[in-house]
């Protein structure tokens, strides 16, 4: 925006100058003729910006660390997370052989929480990934095309969204069986409307902007406008929302475990561990604190990354 105003002023000025005075003013000529300084490529700009904001780096580091952890956990020298040792029930952290203690069944907390990272991250990535892609696509179409398509899709979203996810899970788990896959499907369906609505709002707001009108006047097809103009501008919110949604899904899974409908035992997930540890908060607080800490770490990481993404896409906000 800034640039365009400036260019307009310059060309007008130039036009005026050439009509009234055949000899160009030297300074003006120099300004015209000297080339603009070379702009670094977009990638370099991104990297610079990212590194400039240390917090984003920290966030990224955390996320990468957790993902790598989830991948290599099999190769680490850990106890079997499901083996019960009834001689060491509820052992506090620091007990020989159990760095972070044991739970009410005598299972090692450290290995459970590390294996749990896999479950929690897989579920949340899968859910947020699919829901954001599907939701954004639908939202884009609904927001831009409007009309009947919009009405129908919005209606369906409303219906899905208005119901607590419990009913979904009951149906899915009883008709198709419980398990990680089903939990993912159910949580995804419940999450699609969130992204869909968000995308739709953003698209609808963009749709009335001048540049879209301008593009349409120039004869661009709706698809072109959507993908080249509207989508990139609406993506920010979706990406930020996605980054924020990941810890949300982990917590949703925790709530489901609390109501008894989560990941089937004995698979550990952070949410499940918190639910299990809840009853004995006074006696064995580490059972909730350890997975809670990991959830906190994940939340922190993704939030920082989300903010970093946001700052990258909207440089006007950096001072």
């Amino acid at each position: 925006m800034r640039g365009s105003t400036h260019a307009f002023a310059t060309s007008e000025g130039r036009h005026t100058m050439s009509v009234t005075n055949t000899e160009p003013i030297p300074s003006l000529a120099r300004r015209e003729l000297s080339p603009l300084p070379a702009q670094p490529s977009a990638t370099v700009r991104l990297l610079r910006q990212v590194l400039r904001t240390r917090v984003t780096v920290i966030g990224l580091a955390i996320v990468v660390f957790l993902v790598i952890l989830a991948i290599i956990v099999d190769f680490l020298p850990l106890d079997d997370p499901n083996v019960m040792d009834s001689s060491v029930l509820r052992a506090p952290p620091g007990t020989p052989g159990h760095l972070l203690g044991t739970d009410a069944f005598g299972r090692d907390v450290l290995s459970r929480v590390l294996y749990g990272s896999r479950v929690s991250l897989v579920i949340s990535f899968a859910v947020v990934g699919s829901a954001s892609v599907i939701g954004s696509l639908l939202g884009l179409l609904a927001g831009y095309l409007g009309g009947a398509f919009d009405s129908i899709i919005s209606r369906i979203w409303d219906v899905i969204f208005s119901f607590p996810g419990i009913l979904f899970l009951l149906v899915i788990m009883s008709t198709l069986g419980a398990g990680v896959e089903m939990a993912i499907v159910a949580l995804t369906i419940s999450s699609i409307p969130i992204f869909g609505r968000l995308m739709r709002e953003r698209v609808m707001a963009q749709r009335s902007r001048q540049y879209v009108e301008a593009a349409r006047c120039l004869g661009a097809s709706p698809w072109y406008i959507m993908t080249r103009h509207v989508l990139p501008n609406s993506l920010t919110s979706v990406l930020v929302e996605a980054a924020l949604a990941i810890p949300g899904v982990i917590l949703a899974e925790a709530a489901l475990s609390y109501l008894g409908l989560g990941v089937p035992p004995p698979t550990p997930s952070w949410g499940k561990m918190i639910s299990e540890g809840q009853d004995i908060l006074e006696v064995a607080p580490w059972l909730s604190i350890v997975p809670g800490f990991f959830i906190l770490l994940t939340t922190l990481g993704f939030n920082l990354v989300g903010d970093g993404l946001r700052d990258f896409f909207d440089p006007t906000q950096l001072k």
């Binding site: 009410a104 069944f105 009883s174």
Partner: protein, 528 residues
Amino acid sequence: MKNRLSRRDFFKLSGSAAFAAAAAGYGRQLTLAAERLAALQGGNAVVTAVGTEPVGMDVCNPWALGTAFWGLLGLAYDSWWSYDRDLNVVPDLAESWERPDDSTVVFNIRQGVKYHNSNRELTADDVVWSYERFINEDLGCWSLTEYQQHVETIEASGTHQFTVRLKTPNLLLTRIPLPMAVNPDAYANPTDLLMQQEAGTGPWVLNEWETESYVSFVRNENYWGAVPLIEEFRFQVIPEEQATVAAMRAGQLNFLTIAKIDNFRQLQNESGITAVAGPSLEFRRVNVNHFSENLQNPDVLQALRFGINRQQFVDTLTQGLGQVSGPLSPAVTSFALPQDELNELQAYDPDRARSLLSNAGYNDSDNRLRLDCLSIAGFKDFNDVAQILQANLADIGVDIEIRIQEVGVWVDSRVTLHDYDLSINDHSSGGFDPDFTYYRSDQAEQEWTGGGDPELDSLIDASNVEEDVDARREILQNIQRKLIENVRELYLYSPPVMEAYSNHLVGYEPWPGSTNLRVFDKEQVRIE
């Protein structure tokens, strides 16, 4: 300038006003709390909590999937006989009874017993009316099949006498199904269900029922027996057991039955509260679906029998307060198998289990037996039991997949679909007499899972009519042996009964084997 200041001031003012209001409010709360504490202690009510709302008070109500129901029923309705603390049968609503012959029992009803909120007196005709309602097939009463199996007819043989003619001679008193005394006036049609009303004769009268909130009874001032010293009995519906612990501490509850050991431990450490654990009539078991393809090989069943470390359940889930159990809780000392024989029959022998499995063609490494096990979501500690079972059996080469189901789905699986191998369940012998504990092969519970046999059936029939205690014990112990040896089910452990009550409840002593709310009126518990 002025604008800016006034806006800021506005925020400051509203903020401090809000804070002041909150502080005043909380201050008032603390005073009120103290008052309430005093009130509860000085007030004359037993306030306890139940996890799910009792479904209804109808004596015939088949929606009875919760123990809270039975506790409430016993407050408002009398039974014909009951137990004393020495486990002798004593008369209650029935003054006396005789057996003129093997197949007849004559009950004499107390005179002058009036129904709640009515002047109508209990007569034998009411008993017959109630019986006819119980056997009405359209109603589908829970004890219908008991009547069909054992009772020929029930007739009024006098205004205060009714006669039961039995199909099964010499049926023990504790096995005779008897209809509860209900006031026929309260029913528009016999097939109606009295959900949030009652029409009984007991020591407590239903007073208020706030859906999903609480149920309250007041004492029956015209009770024929000992009128309770306490004025009110209230059941608060509190789904979360941790919240009940907090409520006990805050003085908002003064009596509690506890399911989870950790909550019990917390209350043990509270001053002003007595927390008691004792042996329970209840025991946990694993249903075995004998129709399942995976369980057709007897070696597999035997492997399961010897591959479970029952002591681990006791250690982990009850912290030693419970006991290993067979098909009858060890609390039933007169009839349960002695502990050493039980430990032999249900020995934990992983090597033997593994060799049995390899006989059946499975092994530890690449051909592990895979079974599934059902559990009910959110129901007591079933999920914990399932996890320990899974860990145990993993050691001997059996991989268990735990399927947690919501209760309606679980019923469907068990009754109709039979699409499972194992299921966590529990059972309680109704009283210290194992009267309703065992099912014949043709009874619904056993029909669904198979595994019954005629020899067992005849033993069960014999146990229903044997009067001599020693002979009966012999029969019942044989039943238990057979049940374990044939792996009709897998029996695990018996959790303790855990109760906590305020020291203001003077005169309350826990009843052996289960929580008995009639103690409050029968033993004249009072509040100080």
